[in-house]
């Protein structure tokens, strides 16, 4: 609700409103694009694990940098979409993404502006925990003890792609920022 703050700002014409909306929708749109890209017919090895990994990286990144634009309802919708795009039972990734975001929002102030290595390490911890939660939910939903290896692989993929993707997302965030938010 920035427009309530005192100060001089340009008149909100429809075009400007649209521009602002687009800028605010960017994190969700980027996450959506990543999800679609992960399920696109590329034929990469380990592509099944790429979807949750990309979702985790994107949600983590935007929750740290732009929590306003990636609110829990948006994460809910994205998580549901990720569940439907992937082959996992519905609701698993949804829940783990929501909880991941809740954890990140709680620790956000300590994470902001810190060294990249700390950010990466915290992402690693969060990704591992989220993958463990995924595994637990899978086991509960299928009433069987499933192998742990795919879960570990998923976490490893997420941790491995984090640096490159974080740089990319940060660049995007700077490029399509909300100028009035400062």
């Amino acid at each position: 609700m920035d427009h309530r703050r005192p100060g001089i700002r340009p008149h909100l014409t429809p075009a400007r409103r649209l521009d602002l909306a687009a800028r605010h929708a960017m994190p969700a749109a980027v996450t959506l694009a990543l999800l679609l890209l992960a399920t696109a017919p590329v034929g990469l090895p380990g592509q099944a694990q790429l979807l949750p990994a990309l979702a985790m990286v994107s949600v983590f990144h935007w929750s740290v940098l732009r929590p306003i634009d990636l609110s829990p309802p948006v994460v809910f919708v994205l998580g549901l979409l990720a569940d439907l795009l992937g082959l996992a039972p519905v609701g698993v990734m949804l829940l783990s993404l929501l909880l991941l975001q809740a954890v990140v929002l709680r620790w956000r102030r300590t994470l902001l502006g810190r060294h990249f290595a700390l950010l990466w390490a915290s992402f690693a911890a969060v990704a591992l925990a989220a993958s463990a939660l995924d595994w637990l939910l899978f086991c509960l939903l299928s009433l069987r003890l499933l192998p742990v290896a795919p879960m570990l692989f998923q976490a490893a993929v997420a941790i491995a792609i984090y640096p490159a993707l974080a740089v990319l997302l940060r660049g995007l965030g700077r490029l399509i920022a909300d100028p009035s938010a400062g």
Partner: protein
Amino acid sequence: MIRLSIPTRHALARLMLPVLVAASFAMMLLGKADAVLAERARVALGDLLSPLYGLVAPPLMHVRDTAQELFGLVEMGRENARLREENQTLRRWQAVAMALDAENTLLKAHLRWVPDAAVSFVTARVVDDAGGVYARAVLVALPPGHRMTRGRIVLDAQGLVGRVIQVGARSARIMLLTDLNSRVPVTLQNSRGRALLVGTNGPRPRLMYWTEGTEPSEGERIVTSAEVGAFPAGLPVGTVHYSASHVPEVELVADLNRLELVRIFDYGLEGLRPADPPRAAEPAARDGEHARR
């Protein structure tokens, strides 16, 4: 937009997460209880996305192919070295083969060797792999007016398949080596011992009655023998493989499960002709040997 007071908004924001978590649990239960619903949602989403994927697939494939080509270039050097080495080995073997060929010609000349007659063959398409009184037999199509006779030898691209046992106006039936009634005299290539290849209706025929002292050894090559004048000598049959119960069986080189085209050779052999197949209509003729398993 509804204007809410700041405390209300804060309370709503705090309530949002538990509500959403509860909703995700509800989704999980719903997906578990009604799997069809989740499937339908997935299908609908897939329908929605398939044009998009169709649009992005060609450029993505192009990128992937280019990357693979680049990797291939890196690999090519190693591949080249390997091929060069292999080529050298093959060249050596070629020299050996040519020397042996020359020696063979020389020896044959010394021995006044009577050369084998050139054989004629026809290639026919397998049209059916069931029917008739034999369990393991195939039917090949022939043009009308053919001059096929019983007892001709059938090979596929790799090795011996069987013999022609019935000839019709437009077709011929071939009994495969695996049939229960198939008996083929063979030679063990290493020991030059003789044996009989006996079909079992299973995938691997058995070796029986080998000459004393020449027990077939594992992996030994088996070729036909000209023993009774039914087969020419030296057609490739297969390799010896001992089963779990220590019975010597033969892994056939011909792919009998996927016969498509076979070559039917006329070696002009007047030796042992295959017996007339028993007539299926007569129950008396259907003794244990000829009945289908």
